[in-house]
Symmetry: C2
Subunit: 261 residues, 2 copies
């Protein structure tokens, strides 16, 4: 079967495919992807995560399964499962921990071209040769970036995407980049579910006051661009600890409730 046919056959068994994107790196896109997947799995859905951020694949670590790997069978590659039986597919499973990234050994100025081509073929294989099984919600952690580079190309490899979730922090700089990626995503015909504002405030561990961390006006973007604000996540030490250690926050934690839309 042609690779494209196999992608279609595998993706037909996935009911909803939700890309998670951000204009700039480091705004909490992977943290949001993981916590969304956990919130949906807790409600009984069959959930998967495709970590398409090939340069900084950190989903397996946030799910506590970075030392697992694929099981190769006749049927295809069976992905490892994390907490709540969430299936995870990531480049992180393909590299050994020491070198932990693929090295280009050819002429140095061809490396960006080689990397671009290789990334696309790895992603096509994730879609065509991984045994995803029946999945209700597949969350796709796209690499950071706006216009002409990777996110739209990767999204183009996956048939029938549903609405995308965009993650930002409330600074002018990050909101400026988000505006551009919203405009561009709409031009490509991607529907948008909404915006998640991360690091919206800080709860002081000494006196308990919730102080604003940053000045950016997310509300203005939400009304200017007519995109729903799905939730605001404060800066919280237990959240960064849960990502670092790969242990999901308790269901009752106030931040877990911010993800159950």
């Amino acid at each position: 079967m042609e690779q494209q046919e196999r992608v279609k056959a595998r993706m037909n068994r996935v009911r909803h495919k939700i890309p998670v994107l951000s204009g700039k790196g480091g705004v909490g896109k992977s943290m949001v992807t993981v916590n969304l997947a956990i919130a949906f799995a807790r409600r009984g859905y069959r959930v998967g995560i495709l970590d398409a951020d090939l340069n900084g694949p950190c989903i397996p670590k946030m799910m506590g399964i970075s030392d697992l790997s694929f099981e190769i069978t006749q049927e295809g590659a069976i992905p490892p499962a994390g907490p709540l039986n969430i299936k995870v597919v990531s480049m992180d499973f393909l590299v050994t921990k020491e070198e932990n990234s693929i090295r280009w050994k050819g002429p140095i100025d061809l490396s960006p071209i080689w990397l671009g081509t290789m990334e696309m073929s790895v992603l096509r294989e994730f879609l065509s040769d991984v045994v995803w099984g029946e999945i209700d919600f597949l969350f796709i952690d796209l690499p950071p970036g706006a216009a002409a580079d990777k996110p739209p190309v990767i999204a183009g490899l996956i048939p029938d995407l549903n609405g995308a979730v965009i993650v930002t922090i409330p600074t002018e700089i990050s909101l400026g980049v988000v505006k551009r990626s919203i405009t561009y995503a709409r031009e490509l015909g991607m529907t948008l579910l909404g915006l998640v504002e991360n690091m919206s405030g800080f709860v002081c561990p000494v006196c308990g006051a919730e102080a604003d961390l940053l000045d950016g006006e997310t509300q203005r973007i939400v009304s200017d661009l007519d995109i729903p604000l799905l939730g605001s996540i404060p800066f919280d030490r237990s959240l960064s600890r849960s990502c670092d250690r790969g242990k999901p926050l308790d269901d009752a934690h106030f931040i877990s409730r911010r993800f159950s839309w």
Copy 2:
């Protein structure tokens, strides 16, 4: 003259070339580049910034000059200057604000290859055709990323680099990626000046307590990898405001003092 010859001739007039890099995006690499340039310019040095992060060029905005541009002369392109006469060269000056990123109109899966090639040729032109003049310190804001992709390729285009500055935030995830980029940079023969830890703490605006924001042990990385810690920058609203508005912090601000090494 061959392009490579022109690069050498221009770069011979720059005394110190200091790359600033980070494994992951969003850790404050551009903020550190801008504040380092300002600190050195305040001490009377002639300073330039090369914004080599082509996908998220935000140095002009942080320097308050995003509406300026190059002046094309016989001699070459004269870069705009920001506060303290710091020369800034950035892709941001080449795109119009609306579209604010270059769009690829060919077959969608060739876009990463085209982007990789185009980025390299834009950077070569920045190095060979910009009139830098006499510069004591040139800070180079490299794109985020570790191993095989852009940072090492871009660093390879510039002759005789001095020590590099690496920026991180104190989370296990970010420190893990930093470890890999330190190992890889050393393998490429790049000397390292040291590490800057950003978002190391938070000063509560209500009760004044400085609380730790994150758990990562930067101290452990500093001793394990034998790399000096150049400074720790807390999370501070006036700092994000100064980046968003393109107005440097006062010389007397406690954060400005953290940059005068």
